[in-house]
């Protein structure tokens, strides 16, 4: 690699929803931008297992940066999702007071929402059921938040990334930040296992790893821990009964457990909030999941666990200080974008604009590109439209590979050939939902694997499920 290749205007560390949104924003400028990501794919940690809620910010401390950036993002979801081909529904939320004490907090929460400019309505128990027919009739009242929505957060993150890549941003996967050199109060070079880069500005959007990245860059010392949330995913057949998000009355600490209609029509129950002493344990346990079901039934009686498709857990970053988005006081060409706890998706548009403002204040100045892509032109997933005529327009669109999630061969082909292509089975699943439906791949895992090995090369048994080391098999099988 020539030194010219390694010279960058901006290096973004982390390809989660925040890093990808910043990449998309910067890709509209005439600047040389790259992203390094330690995992093998975009949207592969917090951004792949979260609630998918696009929050309004109605519960956030009024006037804070988090509230500001979430509120700034919220009006734009319809446009952005059209541009990036991302499933989205502004379905609304009803927060339910389960006790008289809960109900006493309604006026204060309404005032907070109004201070953030979010339209909400206090509800009597009768109005709760009118606003959300699936909600418990035994509430003590509630709050309706019409502008809350649900999005496919993985497709959003990939959409940001592919827009950025289309506009020239380079993504380097499987490349953790290993070390850095500095001169005075500026970082000069950063090293990954594969290259040395010389960025003018560095943006630390490393999510769960932001504390490590900050230390490697010799910047502020802070701690990010992992908070685990366990989830249950229910079939679309059940999701049809869930028109709006149901949540408990939020407390200062947590939003609590929710019943969430997903952008694809399925239903999510969760999350729990358990602080871990490591950053990798994504296990689930039966008693925790039983607790989720029990809590959710206090919001919505009649939750039928026969519709559970899968259970999983996600890790979200937790830190004492939230939304640490600022120019580092130690290394003046580093922008910290850390402690984005649970509103990374919801705040991503506002964060990207805010970060651009910060690097401009630090002396970065670039005009807009003379021409750039503003949208990807992707259709919505076939599963969301079930428009057979449209699917049949292309030959590959006529073969449905995953019958549960209605994923066509055309969609799998695109996932493997797009600007940021899938490099694993989970990469295909993240982009298409193939193998993620009711039968969890019992019918299509083999077919998806065969298609993937055609594109990715290698022996079929070596095909990774996700990260290196997660191969489908262990060796060549004897002929049976």
């Amino acid at each position: 690699m020539s030194s010219q290749d390694s010279d960058l205007d901006v290096l973004i560390v982390g390809a989660g929803v925040v890093g990808a949104a910043i990449a998309a924003r910067l890709s509209l400028l005439d600047a040389k931008v790259a992203v390094i990501e330690r995992r093998h794919d975009i949207a592969d940690e917090t951004s792949k297992s979260n609630s998918g809620i696009t929050a309004t910010g109605w519960t956030l401390p009024a006037g804070g940066l988090e509230a500001r950036l979430v509120c700034a993002s919220n009006p734009h979801w319809e446009d952005v999702c059209r541009q990036l081909g991302v499933p989205f529904r502004r379905c609304g939320m009803v927060a339910i007071a389960r006790t008289a004490e809960d109900a006493e907090r309604i006026p204060q929460l309404v005032r907070n929402a109004e201070a953030n400019g979010v339209k909400v309505r206090a509800l009597t128990p009768e109005e709760v059921v009118a606003a959300a027919p699936h909600a418990t009739p035994a509430s003590a009242g509630g709050i309706e938040v019409p502008a809350e929505g649900v999005i496919d957060s993985i497709r959003l993150t990939i959409g940001y990334g592919e827009l950025a890549a289309t506009n020239g941003v380079r993504f380097h996967f499987g490349e953790p930040l290993l070390s850095a050199t500095a001169a005075g109060n500026e970082v000069v070079t950063v090293r990954t296992p594969k290259q040395v880069l010389r960025p003018r500005f560095i943006i630390n959007a490393a999510g769960l790893g932001a504390d490590t990245v900050s230390r490697i860059l010799d910047c502020e010392d802070f701690e990010i821990t992992a908070r685990r949330g366990e989830w249950l995913l229910l079939d679309r057949e059940f999701g049809r009964r869930v028109p709006r998000i149901l949540t408990m009355m939020p407390t200062e600490r947590t939003h609590g457990i929710m019943v969430i209609p997903t952008a694809h029509g399925t239903c999510l129950l969760g999350p729990t909030a358990e602080d871990l002493d490591n950053k990798h344990d994504r296990s689930t346990s039966a008693h925790v999941l039983d607790g989720v079901l029990r809590e959710c039934r206090t919001l919505m009686p009649g939750i039928d666990e026969r519709f559970v498709i899968k259970t999983f857990s996600g890790l979200r970053p937790h830190s004492r200080r939230t939304y640490r988005i600022e120019r580092s006081a130690v290394m003046r060409n580093v922008i910290q974008v850390a402690g984005i706890r649970s509103t990374g998706v919801s705040g991503s548009l506002g964060i990207a604009d805010y970060v651009l403002g910060l690097i401009e204040q630090a002396g970065f100045s670039r005009p807009a590109k003379s021409s750039f892509a503003a949208s990807l032109g992707y259709p919505l997933p076939f599963c969301d439209t079930l428009d057979c005529e449209a699917a049949a327009a292309s030959p590959l669109g006529r073969t449905v590979v995953c019958a549960c999630e209605k994923v066509t061969a055309a969609e799998i082909h695109r996932s493997l050939t797009s600007p940021l292509p899938a490099r694993s089975i989970s990469g295909i699943a993240k982009r298409t939902h193939a193998t993620w439906g009711r039968c969890q791949g019992s019918a299509c895992l083999s077919g998806v694997s065969f298609i993937a090995s055609l594109y990715l090369g290698g022996e079929p048994w070596e095909l990774p499920l996700g990260e290196p080391g997660s191969a489908l098999g262990v060796a060549q099988a004897r002929h049976v």
């Binding site: 249950l232 995913l233 057949e237 990798h280 994504r282 296990s283 689930t284 346990s285 039966a286 999941l289 559970v308 498709i309 899968k310 259970t311 999983f312 857990s313 079930l386 057979c388 005529e389 699917a391 049949a392 669109g397 006529r398 073969t399 449905v400 019958a403 549960c404 209605k406 066509t408 439906g437 009711r438 039968c439 969890q440 791949g441 019992s442 019918a443 299509c444 895992l445 083999s446 077919g447 694997s449 022996e459 079929p460 048994w461 990774p464 499920l465 996700g466 990260e467 290196p468 080391g469 997660s470 191969a471 489908l472 098999g473 262990v474 060796a475 060549q476 099988a477 004897r478 049976v480």
Partner: protein, 297 residues
């Protein structure tokens, strides 16, 4: 006369097609794969398919029944998109092993957890799923999966079976069996490294000691067991495969003809198909009479 759409050209779908067509019904069979027979073609397929054709059933192959709205079935396949008028929809889309979620297997989401049906296809294609795979089983399908893993080159194959199945299922020689156990959780970083087995709970508990299958080694003393394995093949609790939107659960005009649990074989299929056909014909007769009476008033 109203049309009947049959989704699935496996054993049950083909028998239904033959019987309903022979009864004078307009029958269209929609099959996802490019050939009849279902996922596991059986010797009887050709005979049953010919009988259905002779009786007048039409076949649309390489085509998926996508959704049913009560009057038409939208289909998408190699010949393009279409809508089939449908007075009754027979769902004969076969069965599948229960998913990890359905089996309540918690723990890590690591690689190496594979549905049994996919495991069979992958193994045939040259993928050895594990040197020491564990097969979560409930009956004959699991025994078949275990057999295939041994034949493919696995060095040690372990299997769980409910106590009630242990003496009934013919377990391949060389397979270690934990009878009366279920898989509770799997653990591992990138790939499966271990599984925890619990004594099964539920209806089969309290049936006394598991019967020792003749000539088989039987492991486990009733306590939870943690065993080292490098793959988990899900082959327990066969469930009906349902993927036609609008026909996932019971509704008017939809008739499910799918095996439950381990009841397989042509004899069982014939009995089930006959029952489905009489329900369909009765429903069509009622539908016709209501149309007729509506026309008279």
């Amino acid at each position: 006369m109203s049309s009947v759409v049959i989704a699935g050209a496996g054993q049950r779908g083909l028998i239904c097609a033959g019987e309903l067509a022979a009864a004078g019904t307009d029958v269209v069979v929609v099959e996802r794969l490019p050939h009849p027979g279902g996922q596991e073609p059986e010797r009887s397929t050709a005979r049953l398919a010919k009988a259905a054709l002779r009786a007048g059933a039409r076949f649309v192959l390489g085509t998926l029944a996508v959704q049913y709205d009560g009057t038409v079935v939208d289909v998408l396949g190699v010949d393009g998109a279409g809508s089939l008028p449908c007075g009754a929809l027979v769902v004969a889309t076969g069965s599948r092993p229960a998913t990890r979620g359905e089996l309540g297997i918690t723990g890590d989401r690591c690689a190496g957890v594979v549905p049994g049906s996919a495991a069979l296809h992958l193994t045939q294609a040259g993928v050895l799923l594990g040197h020491r795979p564990l097969v979560a089983g409930s009956g004959a399908f699991a025994a078949h999966c275990a057999h295939v893993q041994l034949a493919a080159g696995a060095s040690e194959v372990t299997m769980t079976l409910p106590a009630r199945a242990a003496g009934v299922v013919r377990v391949p020689t060389g397979v270690r069996v934990f009878a009366g156990y279920r898989v509770a959780s799997v653990h591992g970083n990138s790939r499966v490294e271990a599984a925890v087995l619990h004594r099964e709970s539920g209806p089969s508990e309290g049936e006394g000691e598991p019967r020792r299958p003749e000539g088989q080694s039987l492991t486990g003393d009733g306590e939870p067991q943690r065993i080292a394995v490098d793959a988990l093949i899900l082959a327990a609790g066969m469930q009906p495969m349902r993927n036609i939107e609008g026909a996932i659960t019971e509704r008017d005009g939809v008739f499910f003809c799918q095996s439950e649990g381990e009841d397989r074989g042509e004899q069982r299929a014939s009995t089930a198909a006959a029952a489905t056909c009489s329900l369909v014909l009765a429903a069509l007769a009622v539908g016709q009479s209501s149309v007729r009476s509506a026309g008279m008033t």
